[in-house]
């Protein structure tokens, strides 16, 4: 067992490349579990954040501050009757949520949480990601068709037209970022997700700031297209609840419905990961090239621990602020335990940061680096997740024709223009 563990810790490449089957499998499991937990956390966060946007409290009953609400929801959804309409196409109805879910989760095989913190580094990483995430639409289309009902069908049609349209602008924006990876001495770019981040590292600039404002425009187009791609507000035509009741998943209930939700949130995290990787420096901490001194390295490595310490502090304050009635005793204890857990994690992270502050190949240093990478990556993705919630709280929904007009008549030409300008500027600069 220690051999298995150690076999990876010394490696600087992903387990997939090293042919390390044990760790590749471990990564798959870790990512599967991690994404599921992230979706649950996102579910709770969305409800709480949205509630606070809307001057309400959100879930408060199940666990302290509704912390256990996602678990209760998951349990409820699993126990619910799985209804398949008699007129539905049984097999397709059954398989549709799985298609979306599989597509959303397969994407994670190439997402680099760090230079070696990924299942595998594919040569065609970004191409693979775009391709597989475009398969997710199949689940939606097929679900809408199989329900044999009008609202789902319209939802499915909207969704497929929307996703196909926005993939074009999205792809062009991605290409302009990929083009930037080739602005190096050898003139060869890369499609590899890890390679793209490393290119940003080598060029010493996040691609969002490269050739300002070209990089930024490409990023903005991607950021808009990814909202449309994941069917989120204000582009949530496919499930517009005020128009199509629930769109493509109107006829779904229970576990199958929750699989759709799981796929949707997983897809949101996935596309955010692409944006982070392509434009925001992936796993890199801020200013890796400017602030290179070991002291800076140490200071930045304290961030994960400090973040958890902050969360623990918030949880402790929440415990203290709870009403003193006996009714709340269980919740108080629960929140205190949760805070203590967070504090313990914070302590552990700080200890690792201190122990691994020397940049050698010791186990502690490897651990510390891995934690840093994952921390910064997740932090950047979390910002996008917050944006998703923010959009939803702020904006009305676009109409379908307006959505298509923006996709084809605004975003596509701009993306094309940015791509050409990037190429021209790249040629001139090099």
């Amino acid at each position: 067992m220690p051999n298995f563990v150690m076999s990876y810790l010394g490696s600087t490449v992903t387990p997939g490349q090293a042919g390390n089957q044990f760790w590749a499998l471990m990564y798959v499991l870790i990512i599967f579990a991690g994404v599921s937990v992230a979706v649950m956390a996102m579910n709770w966060l969305e409800r709480k954040a949205l509630a606070h946007f809307q001057i309400r409290l959100g879930p408060m009953r199940v666990g302290p501050h509704g912390l256990l609400q996602p678990f209760a929801d998951a349990l409820k959804l699993m126990l619910k009757e799985d209804i398949i309409p008699t007129e539905a196409d049984q097999f397709v109805f059954w398989v549709a949520p799985l298609i979306g879910l599989l597509a959303s989760f397969t994407v994670y095989t190439v997402i680099p949480f760090g230079p070696s913190q990924a299942v595998s580094d594919m040569n065609i990483g970004i191409l693979f990601m775009l391709g597989v995430s475009s398969l997710a639409v199949l689940g939606i289309v097929v679900a809408g068709w199989a329900s044999n009902s009008h609202y789902p069908l319209i939802g499915a049609l909207r969704s497929s037209a929307q996703m196909v349209s926005y993939e074009v602008a999205m792809g062009l924006a991605v290409v302009s970022a990929v083009l930037m990876t080739s602005m190096n001495a050898s003139g060869t770019g890369t499609l590899s997700m890890i390679g793209i981040v490393q290119a940003q590292q080598q060029q010493g600039i996040w691609f969002i700031f490269k050739f300002f404002p070209l990089g930024f425009i490409a990023f903005a187009i991607f950021a808009i297209a990814m909202v449309a791609e994941t069917n989120r507000a204000p582009f949530d035509m496919a499930e517009a609840e005020s128009e199509l009741t629930a769109g493509y998943h109107t006829e779904y209930s229970g576990l199958r419905w929750s699989l759709f939700m799981l796929a949707e949130y997983a897809a949101m995290i996935a596309v955010s990961s692409i944006a982070v990787t392509l434009w925001l420096g992936g796993w890199m901490r801020p200013f890796p090239n400017l602030l290179q001194a070991p002291a800076w390295e140490f200071i930045f490595s304290l961030f994960p621990g400090l973040t958890f310490a902050g969360l623990a502090a918030i949880a402790f304050i929440g415990t203290a602020r709870m009403p003193a009635q006996s009714f709340f005793r269980v919740q108080r204890i629960g929140l205190a335990v949760f805070a203590a857990l967070l504090g313990f994690i914070a302590l552990l992270l700080l200890v690792i940061a201190v122990a691994g502050r020397t940049a050698d190949t010791s186990v502690a240093a490897r651990f510390r680096e891995g934690i840093d990478y994952v921390y910064w990556f997740v932090l950047k993705v979390a910002v996008f997740m917050y944006l998703f919630i923010w959009y939803r709280a702020t904006w009305p929904r676009y109409r379908f024709d307006q959505l298509m007009r923006i996709g084809w008549k605004v975003m596509l030409p701009i993306a094309l223009g940015v791509l050409m300008l990037t190429a021209i500027v790249g040629v001139i600069v090099s």
């Binding site: 946007f53 809307q54 309400r56 949530d236 128009e243 009305p396 379908f400």
Partner: protein
């Protein structure tokens, strides 16, 4: 076969109508035409409205409204209750503007009996009615914005509507179906601090309207979703009997409070906001401005409540003379009229309610033809219907 066989599942399944639709021969999924049942259980039909949409893709070729799911026979009930007993029933029609309903009914009966409410009662009535108008518009704004996809305004408007409902509750003990007025005046004297509560509400609410407007008025998506959507011309609006903010947004400067003042509206200074294009956005602006104008009226009224009795000289048993009367007021949704035929007994011989929502809903069809499904939802919201009033 006809579509409005409510409750009959078979009829629901093969919905056809005067839209000239034929089901049996039509392929199940035709690329040209699609018939969709929107409602009666649908998030955006504001109750139990059922709209049958004939679609070409997403484009609406025609609609038919099927109503009556909430029919309670209010007019029949009226014939079997005394005038006083019927008073609470009117609150149940437009339950979002119960005070307005009560005002219309009480004034109609008073007119039939040729009595008048005392001045103090008139002031109280105007204050409560205008507060109710604001509350009704708030509810409209929240749900309308929710239909168009903006979730947040709903909670903001409900937060502020709560303050109005609190005043109602403190005044008459009920929040929604208030039964605030009686024939001949008011039942309750204002509670201590009523004026202060109302004034506080005014100063509390003024910035809140700006808050709503900050969220929506210049929001690009809101503009795209509402401008030139559901346009109805002034001529069409008049021909279809559309009243209230919908008519005013089409550019007709007509408000019963000004045109044929009732209660003591002639004493107050306020404007009638009108729109230009008759689209959803203009209706939105008109209603926003109406809230401000209502605040103006309340401000003037609350400062000038005279002392005096609150109940006019009406007999204990209300027996209007034989005759008939039509009296209408400007309810938040349009012209709310009561046509009462009296046979000299204690019960109305015939009582007809002219519901604004019912008549305005007729305009839905011409407003949405050629638009998309998403616009149908927006237009239903902008007409501001309450199914309790449509179906009675």
């Amino acid at each position: 076969m006809s579509i409005s066989e409510k409750g009959n599942p078979n009829a629901l399944a093969n919905a056809v109508s005067n839209l000239d639709l034929d089901t049996p021969e039509k392929p199940y999924l035709d690329s040209n035409e699609l018939i969709i049942n929107m409602g009666p259980q649908h998030p955006a039909t504001h109750g139990v409205l059922r709209v049958i949409l004939k679609l070409d893709g997403e484009k609406v070729l025609g609609t038919e409204c099927v109503i009556g799911y909430l029919h309670r026979g209010v007019e029949k009930i009226a014939e079997n209750r005394t005038y006083t007993m019927f008073n609470p029933y009117v609150d149940r029609m437009d339950y979002c503007a119960a005070v307005s309903n009560g005002l219309g009914y009480c004034e109609a009966v008073e007119k039939l009996m040729n009595v008048e409410a005392p001045a103090r009662a008139q002031y109280i009535r105007v204050i409560l009615t205008e507060l109710n108008r604001i509350a009704s518009h708030q509810l409209w704004l929240g749900t309308h914005a929710l239909d168009i996809g903006a979730m947040t305004p709903l909670f903001y408007t409900f937060r502020d509507r709560e303050e109005i409902l609190k005043i109602f509750e403190r005044y008459c003990g009920a929040r929604l179906t208030t039964h605030a007025f009686r024939i001949g005046g008011c039942q309750y004297e204002t509670y201590a601090g009523f004026e202060k509560d109302v004034t506080n509400f005014l100063s509390f609410f003024a910035p809140k309207i700006d808050e709503y407007e900050a969220l929506l008025t210049t929001n690009r998506i809101w503009l795209e979703r509402t401008k030139n959507v559901g346009v109805i011309s002034a001529a069409d609006a008049i021909a279809l009997g559309v009243t209230g903010p919908v008519l005013r947004a089409s550019g007709v400067k007509w408000d019963l409070r000004k045109a044929q003042p009732y209660a003591n509206y002639s004493k107050f200074d306020f404007e009638i906001p009108i729109g230009e294009n008759g689209d959803t956005y203009d209706r939105y602006l008109v209603r926003m401005e109406e809230m401000r104008q209502s605040m103006r009226i309340i401000e003037q009224a609350v400062g000038g409540i005279p002392e005096g009795p609150i109940m006019g000289k009406v007999p204990k048993v209300i027996k209007p003379p034989v005759g008939e009367i039509y009296h209408s007021i400007e309810a938040p949704k349009g012209e709310l009229g009561y046509f009462i035929v009296s046979d000299g007994s204690t019960q109305p011989y015939r009582l007809r309610v002219r519901p604004p929502s019912f008549v305005n809903l007729q305009a839905l069809d011409i407003m949405v033809r050629g638009l998309l499904i998403a616009d149908v939802v927006a237009v239903i919201g902008t007409i501001d219907i309450v199914l309790g009033e449509v179906d009675r």
